[in-house]
Symmetry: C2
Subunit: 226 residues, 2 copies
DNA sequence: TATCAATATGACTGATACGTCATGTTATTG
DNA sequence: CAATAACATGACGTATCAGTCATATTGATA
């Protein structure tokens, strides 16, 4: 579950305990289950607070308040406010990708894959409305993290498109351009029919079926063509 | 690093000059050409600073410094930092819309309109790279302004699509869904081939022709279909 | 149950920024 | 050339935080 990443995690060196008995500052990795649980609570609180108030208006003290820990505890597990934000982006990306890829498993027809993928994406967003704005904001707060987020999604997309192209399910298309085009479609439709409505009225929203069908129609023609 | 929150809103009414001879605070509209020029300089400086540093890391003092005026002068023309940001969003929207609509004047074929519209959009962005990030950030800083920005673009788009549909140039499509889908395509292609490259290397970039053609191909099939 | 590393606390510091205000300058008008 | 309204100044008042640190608590182990 946790997915503590090996290579691309921060912490350059020396994760072990210190020689003098004092804990090496810069470890940040909890050793006990208690620590792990606290760290997780802080992360979840951060997702909530960043989602509601945005990165800059969110304060570390608000995050720790909601997590039920003291300010100082935060810095036991994260070097900085920005660092936890980046970790959050990575988490959200992983969760989103696994949600969509789970939805298209066992499917081979590319157009059905698109339909199920889009449906899963919208579904995920409507249940986690915060993540949209968090990722959006990442473009300013942590551009590298935002790029990585979109790039990883596009890579999966490109693989799928290439395969479909080989099998002749779809037209000859430029995989990367098409991948970004499709991501843009999903993004803006979500903005218009999920994010905005949620901001105005508090209820949970989903894409109207007629809109969903219209979008899938547009995409299908775009991919297949004559 | 810190950000004070602007207690914005306020400013009930009374734009005219004061009875006691002192200028009524809340007018904000320059009366002389000198004032107009100063206000404009501040606006241009704000576009630059917001674009480079982002809304929250930009400071009013940095804006006034680059405009060559004192801090207090800022509040002669704008109630708050947020207010100038909103005005900027409106400005950028107007400029962008007029740039694209100028590019498609005298054109009737919808597919050619799309091609020219997209080209104008990309061209505008590559010459004003800042605006992309400013508008993006507006989603957090001034959601109403951001919504208005996108809505006005989509309205023009929908009109065009409806007309094209009536003339049979394109398939029967849902105008609003299609408008947002197309906006999404443009947005993400710009992100990938204009904004990101500009962030990494400082030079000016434009969309590679093969990518542009691939995108137009996708769109054309999506609009026309069989 | 004594030990001690891991975990937790919260007061404090240093830095920064928005917006105000009392005062000064410009230039237009009668 | 006064008078005066518009424009301009910049120091200051008031807040807010990110991050640090000395101290306290917890709980596993021997």
């Amino acid at each position: 579950m946790r997915e503590r990443d090996d290579a691309d995690g921060a912490s350059p060196v020396a994760p072990v305990s210190a020689p003098n008995g004092k804990r090496e500052p810069g470890s940040l990795i909890p050793v006990t289950a208690r620590g792990e649980a606290t760290r997780q609570r802080i992360l979840e609180s951060a997702e909530q607070v960043f989602g509601e108030m945005g990165y800059y208006e969110a304060s570390v003290s608000e995050i720790t308040r909601r997590a039920g820990v003291a300010q100082g505890t935060f810095y036991l597990y994260f070097h900085s406010k920005r660092e936890i934000f980046v970790e959050l982006i990575d988490d959200l990306g992983t969760r989103l990708r696994s949600a969509t890829s789970a939805a298209i498993a066992d499917t081979t027809d590319r157009l059905i894959i698109e339909r199920q993928g889009f449906a899963a994406f919208f579904d995920f967003l409507s249940h986690h409305p915060r993540i949209y704005k968090i990722v959006q904001e990442a473009d300013r707060v942590a551009p590298e993290a935002a790029r990585a987020y979109y790039q990883r999604i596009s890579e999966g997309y490109q693989r799928g498109l290439r395969r479909a192209r080989e099998f002749g399910t779809i037209r000859e298309v430029d995989p990367e351009a098409t991948a970004y085009a499709l991501m843009g479609v999903a993004h803006f439709v979500a903005l218009r029919w999920l994010v905005w409505p949620q901001e105005l009225g508090a209820e949970e929203h989903s894409i109207p079926p007629t809109v969903f069908d219209a979008v899938m129609d547009f995409i299908s023609h775009g991919l297949v063509g004559r």
